[in-house]
Subunit: 296 residues, 2 copies
Amino acid sequence: MIAAGFTGGWLDRADHLRGDAAALSRALADPRARLMTLDGGDPVIDAGGRIAWTTLADLADDAAAIFLGIDAQGTPHFTQSRPGDVAGAARSRALTAMLDVMPAADAAILGAARSLTGWHARNRFCANCGTPDSLIRGGWARRCPACGTEHYPRVDPVVIMLAEHDGRVLLGRQATWPAGRYSALAGFVEPGESLEEAVAREVFEEAGVRVYDVRYVTSQPWPFPGQLMLAALATADDDALTLDATEIEDAIWVTRAEVLSALAAEPDARFLPPPAYAIARTLLETWAAGTSDGQE
Amino acid sequence: MIAAGFTGGWLDRADHLRGDAAALSRALADPRARLMTLDGGDPVIDAGGRIAWTTLADLADDAAAIFLGIDAQGTPHFTQSRPGDVAGAARSRALTAMLDVMPAADAAILGAARSLTGWHARNRFCANCGTPDSLIRGGWARRCPACGTEHYPRVDPVVIMLAEHDGRVLLGRQATWPAGRYSALAGFVEPGESLEEAVAREVFEEAGVRVYDVRYVTSQPWPFPGQLMLAALATADDDALTLDATEIEDAIWVTRAEVLSALAAEPDARFLPPPAYAIARTLLETWAAGTSDGQE
């Protein structure tokens, strides 16, 4: 089992309670109930980097409570959706620093909270008829009062992959990234294609490299704003690159030794790797350790 | 490589042309251009079960053209989005019959067309501000004229899985299915969870069975209305069942011999398996053949 960032949350989502108005009312009235507040999508954390939960006394007057689940003691946990919420794709500098120290199991719960609150903030109107709609099911859906359409939180599948050729893997960088940072190529899965087809299409679109033999490795949720990252390896027969400059600024083939040097943060490393909570790093670690599959 | 239904389409999606208005105009003016018409989400097929393409002369007056891609000869292919379109989760009886004979590579293109047209039909208003919005990028996005938000077609990741215990796998059936039909359990991946976590949550929610060691097998797009099906095996230590009657009507553990008998459509088979174009069948075939992974 490979442990990726934003996984391992310690709440039972308790889906059966979401549609049960009486049970949700009881949970909201539970004196033990805990609340995660978010400010521009950023949580409050304690000295250990963990979520600093507060009580429902801090639920804002203009907020709708979002039910995140119950812990092993049966304590209900919530976050809140407010009219002025902003929780989109961008991470604040403060949040980036928090994620470097936050345990993955706490980051998983933050991720769910942030994806949900951001989705509500960006989806206040019914896409089917244009009427303002309302949060239902403890925050796990919205319903239109005019046409009755129910809308569910969106999760966008994204493939993220290392093309492999002759003992090296392909990394790219975007112009907006920190200097020296290289990571796995990635892209959204489109309607009408499989994960495996999306991997091949994206590597070709971005780098001009044809790949086959796509091997799934593992996955993680990515709450900026709400992706499911599906990590894979694939094989390339040719290392010639033709870059799509609108997508990536540069791409390089790196050896296992170069990856290990970068992961160890050696001073002369060829590149700066992705942060620990990003599945691109998990993918690089897996490949570099040679445990990705039976072929290594 | 495992070939799943709705994969292997023979069009290059040519993403770089979608944002190029001049190129799209040239494609629409190309006398070779082909059009797939849909009636209630159903295509026209020829005697061989293939898509019966027509020409852009058949593009309806009230239609927006949707660019599906170019074939190996550079011929552009389109479908159309019309005001009265309905293409939702339900399959007509006619379409179900068509899919039984349609080659997977044609079904893949139909799937993309149906997912896109259905998405446009259900998303004519900006979810951010409620204003009617417009199709852009050859049908691969919508843009709001009021707030400027761009919306991209939705793809919902779904896990579909076989829990495995002592040489048997777990199948379930929904009350609305044809008599005798059993298939793999399945459910939507939620915000803030990984594929692996979604598999474990769904098997427990629907059948009360705890699973671990989730092993991804393969994927397919499912255009009813627009899912990415992610198929996996997982291991259970206990075969006791506690069914969620709102989700499934029944669940059974089946042996490899029973699966092989069902796949062979033997008269005394214990259950009716899913159709060939469903990845649940691919998953059953893979498991029954014992080629799913190194453990078999």
